[in-house]
């Protein structure tokens, strides 16, 4: 067998997350999720949220029924987290269907994923809103959105709405494709390519934290057309435009600090921008399959005006979001996971190492995360029943204020999730947009 064929065979073997021991079925975690359980605590839950607000009040019995009907369609989500000696793994919770839970003032908190008998996701209902909160151990934004769309369609069907048979929305009774539970990182691993360089440590806006158990969400609602037009005016995409606005705000925050404080700060502002890899490496996976690029401003070189920022971000992202560049990240992450010495480390030691690695090559190197889920598409029969979508980031101790973006019909929803007492990041971001003539309506949970 050629080395290419051998690598392909190994990739296929590593990519299969569903395992069978006799009659028992269980799952291994995907490469990105492998170390995540060790990084969670009561605040940094790694739980993100996507919600859909319908035009009519939610009828709870129908939502419960929709979830029960869809449960067999998503067997890889009906699992609990267990500890093995070397790795965490996912144990199916046979015979149990998830049920909706009440919404809370502070979303994304209080998911005890390491406790027995807990699903790693939940569906929350409030007035006319259905929200799914997923722990990143289970899936990423794209996977969560597929689940939410399926819930919306089944719920509306149960409420008597004529639902078509659209592409890309899962229905109860469909047979899950084995590819849906595969670890696409392992499948697309290329051996022998260089790893990406570890980024420099980035500036983190100093702020007192909110009290434990609190998580502030500020959502800005913008007209999509005006925002895209403004982005095009600057010769960029909308994501690049919003990343630039965020970086410009971070630069302003850095400059606003007193000189003695500023001198002790890292002179680099960087935003992590997740990339849905399904666009680069076609995959049906419902597990995590996103990595990131990290546009940055090196403040040691001086200050940047907005046009400079947007030009840098545009060229950086155009160059970096490429199969070859992303393959380097996959090679680093998957290569580490396949290393025999690392595999043989007991889980406790892996946890300690994971926290250090996550801090050094993750949180330390970015000032915040700007994620754009993109435009949500639904067939017209369903779309007329949905008022809006929102996408809320997972709380983080280090990068305290992060904007997550989603667009629906002619509106753009930018939700900042924050554990910081200060609202300066949000204020600078939205005031810059209004300063450009884009009207912003603000909502918050505080």
């Amino acid at each position: 067998m050629s080395s290419g064929g051998r690598t392909r065979g190994m990739n296929l073997s590593f990519a299969k997350t569903e395992k069978n021991a006799g009659e028992e079925r269980w799952y291994i975690l995907d490469n990105a999720a492998s170390f995540m359980p060790a990084l969670t605590d009561s605040t940094a839950t790694l739980v993100f949220r996507i919600s859909a607000t319908l035009t009519e009040r939610i009828f709870l019995p129908s939502l419960t029924e929709a979830m029960a009907n869809l449960a067999p369609r998503f067997p890889y989500f009906l699992v609990e987290l267990r500890r093995g000696f070397f790795w965490y793994y996912l144990e199916p919770m046979e015979g149990r269907a998830p049920e909706p839970v009440a919404d809370s003032r502070y979303p994304c908190l209080n998911m005890q994923i390491r406790r027995r008998g807990r699903f790693l996701f939940r569906v929350r209902a409030y007035h006319s809103r259905i929200a799914v909160e997923f722990c990143h151990v289970l899936t990423d934004g794209a996977g969560a959105l597929v689940y939410l769309k399926a819930i919306i369609m089944e719920y509306l069907r149960l409420r008597g709405v004529e639902t078509p048979d659209p592409e890309g929305i899962f229905r109860p009774g469909d047979v899950p494709d084995p590819e849906e539970s595969e670890d696409a990182f392992n499948l697309n691993f290329r051996q022998g390519i260089p790893f990406p360089e570890v980024g420099r440590k980035a500036f983190h806006f100093p702020s007192l934290p909110l009290r434990p158990g609190q998580y502030r969400v500020i959502t800005g609602i913008l007209p999509l057309g005006a925002t895209i037009a403004k982005a095009k005016e600057h010769g960029s995409t909308m994501t690049e435009f919003l990343v630039s606005v965020y970086l410009a705000g971070m630069q302003d925050l850095f400059l606003a600090l007193p000189a003695p404080v500023r001198s002790g700060m890292k002179k680099l502002v960087a935003a992590e921008v997740p990339v849905n890899l399904r666009r680069l490496f076609p995959s049906k996976t419902m597990r995590n399959f996103s990595l990131y690029v990290m546009p940055y401003l090196d403040l040691r070189l001086g200050l940047y005006d907005f046009d400079e920022i947007i030009k840098r971000v545009h060229h950086y992202m155009q160059a970096e979001i490429h199969e070859k560049n992303i393959s380097r990240q996959i090679a680093r992450n998957v290569g580490g996971g396949r290393n025999l010495a690392i595999r043989m480390l007991p889980l406790v030691l892996k946890g300690i190492a994971a926290r250090w690695v996550f801090k050094r090559i993750g949180e330390d190197t970015m000032s915040g995360i700007v994620s754009n889920l993109g435009a949500v598409m639904l067939p017209e029969a369903l779309a007329s029943h949905v008022e809006r979508f929102e996408f809320i980031p997972a709380p983080s101790h280090r990068c305290r204020s992060n904007p997550y973006v989603v667009s629906w019909k002619d509106r753009l929803f930018i939700s900042f999730g924050s554990t910081a007492a200060s609202t300066e990041v949000e204020r600078l971001f939205f005031t810059r947009l209004t300063g450009m003539g884009i009207p912003v309506a603000i909502e918050s949970n505080r």
């Binding site: 009040r57 009828f59 709870l60 909706p100 003032r105 979303p107 807990r118 007035h127 969400v217």
Partner: protein
């Protein structure tokens, strides 16, 4: 459709409470009165509904502790039976384990009901001492020594706990009360021992303990009620 006031979701008309937040729902909702905000006003942890209640936790603890104690008793008795083919010394640890069981479980079961706790633990201690005397053979030391000492100990402990519990402000006064308790206990002990062992009652070592404890207790009371409680140091030490 019945509507939950907290969650704002529609429920079956027959619903008595909301399955999400457990709040009771009215059969005739005033939908327009239910205010819709972007997020709920309440902070709700879904985990709360999965957690065991204090009562459930208490029951589980009692069950586990009962099984453990019973197993320990059986093991001790079995060891003696296997080694010596009789039951004799194992009764001591079994009696101790039973007494310990009461000491641990009574507070768990009775919680803050102090008088019920005294009513269980006071006779139990007396019975435990009596059991030890009975196991020794002919009853020799329970009536003259065991019972009076236990009663004295219980009386002093009970009085001290009650006094401390009833104090409006707890501070060093609790230490002072405990010291007075120790002094009383020592004097009482010497009296009981002298009455049994010596021809005449003569207070000796207990007085030394009392002379040490009582002034310190007095100092602590003074500190508590005068210095930190009512008067400022500037007033008291005004020249």
């Amino acid at each position: 459709m019945t509507i939950c006031r907290n969650c704002g979701v529609g429920l079956e008309d027959s619903a008595k409470h909301c399955p999400l937040c457990r709040a009771s729902v009215s059969l005739e909702p005033e939908a327009e009165a239910i205010r819709k905000t972007a997020y709920p006003e309440h902070v709700l942890d879904p985990e709360d509904f999965l957690r065991l209640s204090p009562e459930q936790r208490r029951r589980i603890f009692i069950e586990i502790y009962t099984v453990c104690t019973a197993m320990a008793c059986v093991v001790v008795a079995a060891i003696e039976l296997v080694l010596d083919k009789r039951i004799a010394w194992s009764l001591y640890p079994i009696a101790s384990l039973c007494y310990l069981y009461l000491l641990v479980c009574a507070p768990v079961m009775l919680g803050r009901r102090r008088s019920a706790l005294y009513a269980v633990l006071a006779p139990a201690t007396l019975l435990f001492i009596l059991a030890l005397d009975v196991l020794d053979g002919p009853r020799a030391w329970f009536m003259p020594l065991g019972a009076p000492i236990v009663l004295l100990l219980e009386g002093v402990a009970l009085a001290s706990i009650e006094l401390i519990a009833r104090a409006k402000r707890k501070g060093v006064n609790a230490i002072a009360i405990a010291l007075l308790g120790v002094a009383t206990l020592c004097v009482g002990l010497e009296l009981i021992i002298d009455a049994r062992a010596a021809a005449a009652i003569s207070l000796g070592w207990s007085v030394v303990v009392a002379i040490t404890c009582v002034p310190i207790a007095g100092l602590l009371f003074w500190l508590h009620y005068r210095i930190t409680g009512q008067a400022s140091i500037a007033k008291i030490f005004r020249v």
